[in-house]
């Protein structure tokens, strides 16, 4: 499935529910489902808060599986990440004034089996997360 959402924080909850409902077809455990919901929440929030800052744009979420290997991608066409390695460092954040904790990528990495980040400045960011159920 592929879901396009406007970059409003009100859509964070919806994105979580939609991916969870889709993945539920595989009968994941409650813990696995909570992990996927949380990781999706982090990536979608980042796209809205960092990718588009206060601009409007579309966030695209896709989810699919082969066997019980689930892949979720979250993509924005926003401002991009100049240094991905630094961005992934725990506690690193460029929006301390919003009280972002800098723990978003850390949560994704802990809750999914693999997290890859593709980003280009002024072009956008794509986060690909994989989890074996």
């Amino acid at each position: 499935m592929r879901l396009e959402l406007l970059s409003k924080t009100a859509n964070e909850g919806f994105a979580r529910v939609a991916v969870a409902a889709f993945v539920s077809q595989l009968d994941p455990t409650l813990e696995q489902l909570a992990e996927i919901k949380t990781a999706v929440s982090e990536a979608v929030t980042n796209a809205i808060v960092h990718g588009y800052e206060n601009m409007m744009g579309y966030v695209t979420v896709t989810a699919q599986w082969t066997g019980r290997l689930v892949t979720v991608t979250v993509e924005d066409k926003g401002k991009g990440i100049p240094d991905v390695e630094m961005a992934r460092t725990p506690l690193f954040t460029t929006r301390p004034e919003l009280e972002r904790s800098g723990m978003g990528f850390t949560v994704m990495e802990n809750f999914m089996d693999s997290v890859e980040v593709y980003s280009k400045e002024h072009q956008g960011t794509r986060v690909v997360m994989i989890k074996q159920l």
């Binding site: 009100a10 964070e12 909850g13 904790s101 978003g104 850390t106 949560v107 802990n110």
Partner: protein, 116 residues
């Protein structure tokens, strides 16, 4: 996200229910800060009915920790559910802020700390 607030002496008990993400964090933060500045220097986060929290919640907790500490108060967390507790552990907030199994235990600890 629905919140309810109770004040016992100078301790604010903030009971959050639903989902704490960046969207709900904005309103919760403003509401908490207003009430703390109105004269509550202790804060208990009651997470009994909090069903979901992402790292936005970490920001909310640490921000309030700083404020309450600056006012010479105490802060703690009561009854987080497993999903919420995992985020708290991951961010090692539990090294800064005590976590209790009930709001009563949390309140007792506050009274030990300082009489509200």
């Amino acid at each position: 996200m629905k919140e309810s607030y109770t004040v016992i002496n100078k301790t604010l008990i903030a009971s959050l229910s639903g989902e704490l993400d960046q969207h709900s964090a904005v309103q919760v933060r403003a509401e908490l800060d207003r009430r703390i500045k109105e004269g509550c220097n202790n804060l208990v986060f009651d997470f009994k009915r909090l069903e979901f929290m992402d790292s936005s919640g970490i920001g909310v907790i640490i921000g309030r920790y700083k404020l309450v500490m600056a006012l010479g108060g105490a802060i703690c967390i009561a009854c987080p559910k497993p999903q919420v507790e995992r985020i708290i552990h991951l961010a090692t907030i539990d090294r800064l802020i005590p976590i209790y199994k009930s709001v009563d235990d949390a309140l007792k600890s506050m009274r030990g700390d300082r009489v509200g």
